[in-house]
């Protein structure tokens, strides 16, 4: 029945993270160093990941002991397909997980379904060539969205009318997070409730304008590090893990910066990965020990060093990091700590509906920016979709929307 490909015979750790071969190898090394048991680390795309877990649990024949994934990968599996991990979280509460993450991990219930593992965020990366087109008086570390736009325009003009800015709008790109967590909160102060507010209209019109100064190939970019490295674009917004290789070759020619701020503050989003145990998993004790090991501060720092995912536990970020990660860490910190910082969370408690919510944002982009549709009417139409998704899920709002008691809905 074939050759074993997981490298060991120990417990199986299925994850949607660190799929690139290099990252996976580094993580496996980390596991070997930081844990005394045999762990087979198996990566998977989110689709097969969900399929595997669901079918294994449904069939009552669970092979996987531990799951690693984004909040969005894990949340849909709770509560039917995951073990209740409330006890672990309370056992290790001293580790200092931020409460909003624990909130996320409850997925709208009163139990905890996964242990926060690592976090990441999104920042701007720019080559020094691009920085010289910054509008005068602008502070690269503290841009407003208007300055950002001016910068893009100036860069385009200076470059034979070819835009220097790129955004990850490809099928696997995370552009919708830009709208959900950065642009809209910065312009409107909210994510859902303000979905069709007049400020939202302004925001979308801004995107339209920005897009004109954005490399057209952006709709194909999944990760910005390749186009940046290849000089196709000179500055871009993306996930930290997807930018980490950019400064590798010429570390001193690159800058990492916090995202711009808007009238309502500097919206930013945190990405959370978590560890979960499938319902009825074998070797649960081992798995719990592994969770504990991965939650140790040293291990999480190692992870940052290896794969550019930031610790979720309270810890000091050391200085001896590789340059790229150091730059990112600095930018992330600045983003979080600057005045007016406005944290956005990925949808909380939507379970398997999360994708459809994100789709609403993508569809707005598609219609308004690419399709040239009227902003107002598009927002109204998509607001209905959003409303329906939320109504079905019956969840309260999450940051930055005011967290009420009732069901979250578009104003």
């Amino acid at each position: 029945t074939g050759f074993a490909t997981s490298g060991t015979s120990g417990l199986t750790f299925l994850s949607t993270q660190f799929t690139p071969v290099e990252e996976a190898e580094r993580f496996r090394a980390l596991l070997r160093k930081g844990f005394d048991g045999d762990v087979g680390y198996v990566t998977s795309d989110p689709g097969p990941f969900a399929t595997q877990v669901r079918s294994q649990v449904d069939a009552g024949n669970v092979r996987v002991s531990l799951l690693g994934g984004l909040h969005g990968d894990l949340a849909p599996l709770a509560p039917d397909h995951l073990e209740d991990l409330t006890d672990i979280v309370s056992d290790f509460s001293s580790l200092g997980w931020p409460p909003e993450y624990l909130e996320l991990a409850r997925v709208g219930t009163d139990r905890t379904w996964y242990v926060p593992w690592a976090q990441a965020s999104y920042v701007l990366a720019a080559h020094v060539d691009a920085l010289q087109h910054l509008p005068s008086g602008a502070d690269a570390e503290d841009l407003t969205y208007d300055q950002f736009l001016d910068w893009a325009v100036a860069a385009r003009r200076a470059n034979d009318n070819r835009p220097m800015l790129g955004l990850p709008g490809g099928p696997k790109g995370l552009l919708h997070r830009f709208f959900q967590g950065y642009l809209l909160p910065s312009f409107t102060g909210g994510q859902i409730t303000t979905f069709r507010s007049p400020e939202a209209v302004t925001a979308w019109e801004y995107v339209r304008e920005l897009w004109r100064n954005c490399a057209p190939a952006s709709t194909n970019y999944d990760f910005m590090q390749d186009p940046l490295e290849a000089n196709e674009v000179r500055f871009a917004w993306d996930h930290v893990a997807r930018l980490v290789n950019v400064p590798k070759r010429e570390p001193d020619r690159w800058r990492m910066m916090p995202a711009p701020r808007g009238p309502k503050g500097r919206g930013y989003m945190a990405v959370l990965t978590g560890l979960a145990i499938p319902k009825g998993a074998p070797d649960q004790d081992q798995a719990r020990r592994l969770v504990a090991a991965l939650s140790r501060a040293e291990t999480q720092v190692e992870l940052l060093r290896a794969n550019a995912f930031f610790p979720t536990v309270r810890t000091q970020i050391p200085d001896n990091l590789p340059p790229a990660i150091r730059m990112e860490a600095a930018a992330v910190a600045k983003q979080r700590e600057s005045k007016g910082a406005l944290l956005s969370l990925p949808p909380v408690g939507l379970g398997s509906k999360e994708g459809e919510l994100s789709k609403a944002f993508k569809d707005c982009f598609q219609s308004i920016v690419l399709g040239g549709a009227d902003v107002r009417s598009t927002l109204d139409a998509q607001a209905k979709v959003v409303g329906k998704v939320l109504a079905e899920a019956k969840v309260p709002c999450w940051a930055p929307d005011p967290r009420g008691t009732g069901v979250c809905e578009v104003m």
Binding site: G169, P216, A217, T219, N220, K362, D363, S367
Partner: protein, 291 residues
């Protein structure tokens, strides 16, 4: 001394169903139940029958686009591939020098997965890809052309068409070659003697004799073309949505199996529709085989 006539065995020789059984059993065992579930999913929610998923689907801005693109792609690509494959077969039949090598090279794209094929052509059509490098190198263009840009739908379609042709013509080609290899040369010779020109021979003799192979090639090609989206996705992202891509999108990214099933049923309907069409159009004249 007449021996008693034994009653004729009910089945004479082998009943076709004996031969069909193993494959049918496997297919039904493996796919029967999932298939039923998939179909039902499109019409059910928690409390029974519903058309909500379909409404959701038809309300989706991508769906119409995907349907259109899919049809467009099939209508453009499949005929070109068929013609090309027949042409290539004729070339090989003309026994050029190094025929074996050419044949091998022409079959190579078969071995390439969708994803890799998409990648390959991305290096060609990307803004900073080989094609633009060439154009610039030849001085035909200053900065190259944004082939895959969302605001160049024509070049985008062109790129996808070229890539699909490259990737999947081999399949038609190999089927057609296999068919031609079975064909006795007598018929072509007879046609030559009776004054048929090369075209007439192709049209009146070779193609009709190839009918079974062409039918199969067309059916498979269309169905598989309906299944392939990795190439288009690699080249154009979501700018050129295709129906199967939408299925994946709904199933994997949006975690909505019901709508995904609905899309899948649309694909199914398209596939079977074309398959039946081909079968009707290319029906064997009576059961009579050659000879």
């Amino acid at each position: 001394m007449t021996a008693a006539v034994k009653r004729p065995p009910k089945r004479i020789g082998m009943s076709p169903w004996v031969l069909l059984a193993p494959s049918t059993v496997l297919l039904v065992l493996l796919f029967g139940w999932p298939l039923v579930q998939g179909v039902l999913a499109a019409f059910q929610d928690g409390d029974g029958f519903t058309l909500a998923h379909w409404e959701r689907l038809f309300g989706d801005p991508y769906f119409g686009q995907a349907l259109l693109n899919t049809l467009l792609l099939i209508v453009i690509v499949v005929p070109i591939q068929l013609v090309l494959a027949v042409g290539m077969t004729l070339l090989i039949q003309a026994k050029p020098k190094l025929a074996g090598l050419h044949f091998y090279i022409w079959a190579i794209p078969l071995a390439i997965s969708d994803l890799a094929a998409g990648l390959v052509w991305l290096t060609v059509f990307a803004d900073r890809g080989y094609l633009n490098s060439l154009l610039i190198g030849l001085g035909l263009s200053e900065n190259g052309i944004a082939w895959l840009s969302y605001d160049n739908p024509t070049t985008m379609l062109l790129a996808v068409v070229v890539a699909e042709i490259w990737r999947a013509t081999s399949m038609v080609f190999v089927i057609v070659v296999a068919g031609v290899q079975m064909m006795p040369p007598d018929y072509d010779e007879a046609a030559q003697v009776f004054g048929a020109s090369a075209w007439q021979r192709l049209w009146h003799v070779t193609l009709p004799l190839l009918r079974p192979s062409l039918q199969v090639a067309l059916i498979l090609r269309t169905i598989l073309a309906l299944q392939a989206f990795a190439v288009a996705q690699a080249l154009t992202g979501r700018n050129f949505p295709l129906l199967v891509g939408e299925t994946y999108q709904w199933y994997v990214n949006l975690q909505n199996p019901a709508v995904a099933s609905a899309v899948a049923l649309v694909i199914l309907a398209l596939s079977l529709g074309t398959a039946i069409l081909y079968m009707r159009a290319l029906r064997q004249p009576s059961a009579g085989g050659p000879r």
